[in-house]
Every structure is written in C-alpha cells, then in structure tokens.
Subunit: 258 residues, 3 copies
C-alpha cells in the first residue's frame, strides 16, 4: 500500500473537474465540481478540494461551484480543505488539516503548515512560508518571500464586531515570529522582524525589529548578531536559501539575474 | 455531485438515532447511538456526531451513549466532532474540525468557528459567536450575544495541575479580542471589551475596556471612536446587527418588543 | 454500532504491519507500512498511523516507510496522524486530530490533547501531559511528568529563518501555563512554573515562578498559596496524583519505593 499512485478508488470526483497528468489522490478525498489540478500534483487522504462556499446553503439548486485552480507539482497533505473560488500557483505545499477559504490568490511555491486557517479574500505572493497554525484574516495582503510562524494572527476588524474590515499588509521578506498579533490595517515593512508574542498596533518600518505588547522598535535588523557565530543574520535573504529561488546561487546573484 | 441531498450512502448511523425531515449528511460521517438531529440540518463530510465519551474505555459493554441533541436548521461543517451528552438549540453553525465535548449546553444561533475546541461541561447562551480556534475550558459560562475571537483561551485551573476547576463567566454582549487569555474564575462584565493579546487576571467591570499583560482598564467602551468615521462604536449592539435577532430593526426596537 | 470491536472493514492496512491482541480500529483509519501496535490498543475513526515522511515525495519507489511503534493499551482518538519513524511507550493517549511527526520518542503514559502538533525529532519522558493545541518544535527535550497547557509553543530557531535549530529543554515536573512561548535553547528548570501568556527568553531556575513578556521571576513556587484553602500547592506532585504513578499512595511513598 505504501505508494498510492493514480486516483484511489474511494475518491469522489464532481462535474467539470480537470486533472493534469500524473496526479495522485489518496483514499477518500473529495474533489467537488470545477476544480482544476495541474500536472504532477500529489494529494493525500481525506482532502477536500473545492469545498462549496456558504452561498450553497442559501442558493440551493442554483448554486454553481466557482473554479479552484491548483498549480502543477503541488503537494496537499491529508485532511486539508480548500474552498472553491481560489487560485494557487505551482508547487503549493500544505501541511495537514489546512483550511483555505474562497477568494485566496497565491503565487508560486507557497507553503502553508498544518492547521493553518486562511479566511479567504486575500493575496499571497511567491515563495511565502507559513509555519503551522497561522491565521490570516480576510483582506490581508502578503508580498513575496514572507515568513510567518505558528499562532500568528493577521486581524482585520478595527472595532469587533463591525462591518469595516481593514486587512494587514506584510511587505516582502518580512518575518513575523510565533504568537504575534498584527492589528487591523497595520503595514509590516520590507525585511522587518516582529519578535515572538508581539501585539503590533502601528506600522513597522522597513528593517525595523519590534517586540512587546504593544510592540515597539528595539533595533534595526542590521544590529542582530548570530548567537551561534556572531555574524549578521538579517536581512535573512543574504544568509538563507533553502527552498528559495536563489538556492545554491545566493540572493544577490539571483536578483541581478532577474 | 455538487448538491448532496439526503444521507450519503457511506454514512454510518447507530441505534436510537432520530433524524428530522430534510436532513442532509455528507460522505463518511458517523452518527453514533442516540443522536437527535432536528429538521433541515445540513451536515458535511467526515463529521462525527455523538462521539462516545471516555467512559466507553472503562465501561466497555455496559456503556450507553448519552443523547446528543442538535436543533433544527443547523449547519455542521466537515470534520467536526460533537460528543454525546450535549444539547444545542436551533441554527447551530460550525466551521470545520470543531471539537465539542460532553456536557455542553448552548442556546439558539450559536456559531463556532473552524478548529474551536470546547472542553465540555459549560453553558453558552443565544446568539454567541466564536471565531476560529477558540478554546473554552470546562465550567465556563457564556451569556447571550458574546463575541470571542481567534486563539482566545478561557481557563479554569487556578493552580495547574489541580482538582479545583473554577470556570470563567462572560456576561452578555462582551467582546474578547484575539489571543487573549481569561484566567480562572474571572468575570468579564456586560458589554466589556478585552483587547487583543490580553492576559486577564481579575474581573472586568461592565463597559470597561482592558488591555495588556496583565490586563488593565484603559477606557470605557463609550470613549472609543470609529477609526473610519469618528462615531461611537460601542456598545456594538447599537451599531451592528448582522445575524443578530435585531437585524433590520435595530437593537432598541427589538429589545422594546421583547 | 456503539461498540466497535476488532478492525472495521473499511480500515486500510499496509505491508509489514504488526497488530497486537485485542486491538480495535475504527472506520476508515489507515495503517501504513511497518506500523507496530501493541496489545489492547483502541484506535478511533479516521486515524492515520505511519504517515510517510516527506522523503516519499523525492525517493518515489525507493522509499521504505520507517517503523512506527505504539505501546500497549494506547488510545488514539479520531483524526490523529502519527508519522512513520517514531516510538511511543505504553498507554499513549491522544485527543482528536493530533499530528506527531517522525523522530518523536516518548516514554510511557504520554497524554497529548486535541490539535497538538509535535514537529518531530524530539524526546518526551514518562507521564508527560500536553493539553489541547500544544506546539513542540524539533529538537525539544521534555523530561518526566511535565505539564504543558493549551497554545504553548516550544520554539527552536534563534534567527528565523535559519538553519540553526536549538531546542528547548523542560525539566521534570515543570508546568507551562497556557499561551506561553519558550524561546530557542531556553531551559525550564525542575518544578518551575511559567505563568499564562509568558514569553520566556532566558533560562528559568528550578522552583522559580516566571510571568510576563519578557518573563521574569516573581516568586518561588513555595510562595504560592491555594486560592481555595490557603495551603501550599507547589510542588504540585505533593498535592496532585490523578493519572500519575504515585496515584493513591502519594509522591513521597512512591519515590521512596523506586
């Protein structure tokens, strides 16, 4: 049994589904109507793709499932639920039991960890990394190569409960450490670093390090030395390349070649 | 496949189950013994209703599953697990993968978001709203029209680990923002607002706004002006009606008609 | 249906699986290759044991699933996923939808709550208790009789994202209350108590109580009096025995008999 290949006999597949070549789907997954899956995707057990959005409960027989597009060579681990009405670039990789609602647009090489909960109607760039259990409110905009760690919440309601949703923006290369909350409308600048457990209630400038409740600037990222060898560690893109488009060649060489 | 109707052929149904009219149950859900489901309920895939409580591991063949009652017109999304021995009023609505243990008593129109974890032996009023990933300890009492946002924890053990459980009480119309912890025995007053990331270690008076670790009073809710248009935003029940019993008529008119 | 016994007909079982006597496995669970399950284990519905690790996506047909060992008399609740390549002593007990990755070594009587997420490559002692939604980073070392409460994160990357992982160590009998973060490399001393919502950025001495962001010492555990009856409550092992090896005889008598 170890290497499932092809589509397991227990998989349920709706109308209008387009499957690329060499797609694997594990036991008991459900592919609802109008899902498009690129070549070479590997989809685990108990996955639901194209979950109907809540309009189905009101529209009944008139409901038509919006398209869900999954780019080629994606890996979707068991128990994940991706709603209809989103689009993901190539090489999406999810952990287990991820939930992603409608209106999510993500670029290439998006990785999203176990139990993460993306509320939909948001934009996610290329090479974005969410660790486990990241919660993204509607209206969030996350640029390229952003890292977000476990139990981070991007909020959107300045006066809960209200009808005024104002999403968070996270600029490219920013890092948000575990258990931080970003309050509605806040912009986290390019290369900025939000320390663990921060409650961020105002904008963070590019390259700033903030910590605390409420979060306040404590340093520039250029001030941070490695606890291992004393060298500069930020901007991280100069020192870390695993899974990034500059892997093996270095960020600057890659950038210059763009 | 888009509109499942009726009971999917893969659903497992135990003894003593009572199904109302026009109930939909998605693929592979399990309805254990003695579950009672009201009319017009829509139950997703991979749902478990009437999960046996832990006594089954000790009592073996003598175990009898307590009744689980689900009120009419409820929506239970895929992957949710509701234990035997609880009761929910009409129009319960859950997100995905919610867990609710035995001894939970909830009123009408309770909405509980994806991944929320209710530990049981607790009381929940009418029109209560939990966003995703809310954790409610045993012994909690939550009155009507309370809002609780993601990653909030209601605790109950003043000296962990101990055998003295003292639940939290949240009075009607109170709002607890994301990533806050309410310590054992604390009472959150009517209309009070707990800001994001607060650790609340003493009672919060009605209409107070508290923030911080430990949380301290910073304002009255009447002091808070909208960042959008400068008007008063709290008590929220005067300004927000979506899904509330006063929707379309206003809180005061509704209250006066009670 | 109430008492499943034996192996449900829908269970999928791989090659090289060893099942002890009197094992129960609920509907639709998947037991991948090379899983070894001890006598008297009770495994719920929708469980995945021996989930292949990520090497399968690269090694393809050459991939061989590492052994997963589950000790006797374990209870694994529905929806949990345990990767191949870990080992658990007798009487493991999980909540629902737990995820435990490869390289986890746990002793006897490990209890891990609903939605907890253990990232693997870690050591866990005997009689350890994780409540719901505990996140354990790779490289963590957790000694005997440790208690960790909901939404606690044990981190491991001092400069995220980096390739330098430095795990947390939690010494025996320590208690970490809800919503706390332990930063990389920190050691939590024997019998220490970390208060709710703490961000712990340096070592905590044995028997110290720390709280806050950043966490600082506020007391010795011997200073804490019960809010119920005014007596000393810590070290908790002198006052609490439910589920512990000294249950019914007291900690000191048990220790003296070792």
């Amino acid at each position: 049994m170890k290497n499932f290949s092809g589509i397991h006999s227990s998989v349920l597949i709706g109308d209008g589904v387009k499957l690329g070549r060499n797609v694997t789907i594990g036991p008991r997954s459900i592919i609802y109507d109008n899902v498009e899956i690129g070549d070479d995707c590997r989809i685990g057990a108990d996955v639901i793709l194209g979950e109907p959005n809540s309009a189905i409960y009101n529209d009944g027989d008139n409901y038509s499932n919006p398209v869900l597009r999954i780019g080629k060579a994606s890996i979707i681990r068991s128990g994940s639920i991706l709603y209809a009405g989103s689009a993901f670039g190539a090489r999406l990789e999810t952990g287990h039991r991820v939930t992603i609602r409608e209106g999510t647009r993500a670029g290439e090489n998006f990785r999203v960890g176990t139990l993460s909960d993306i509320q939909g109607n948001c934009e996610i760039g290329n090479y974005v990394r969410f660790h486990s259990n990241v919660h993204v409110g509607q209206g969030s905009v996350i640029k390229d190569c952003v890292w977000i760690f476990p139990y981070v919440v991007l909020t959107n309601d300045p006066h809960p409960p209200s009808n005024h949703l104002v999403g968070v923006t996270v600029e490219s290369f920013a890092v948000i450490a575990t258990m931080s909350v970003i309050l509605p409308g806040v912009v986290i600048g390019t290369d900025a670093l939000v320390g663990a457990g921060s409650i961020v209630n105002r904008n963070v400038a590019a390259e700033d390090v903030v910590v605390g409740n409420p979060a306040r600037r404590v340093a520039s990222i250029h001030d941070i030395k490695s606890k291992v060898d004393g060298t500069n560690v930020y901007p991280w893109r100069l020192n870390f390349d695993r899974g990034m488009p500059w892997e093996g060649i270095g960020y600057e060489a890659w950038r210059d070649a763009q």
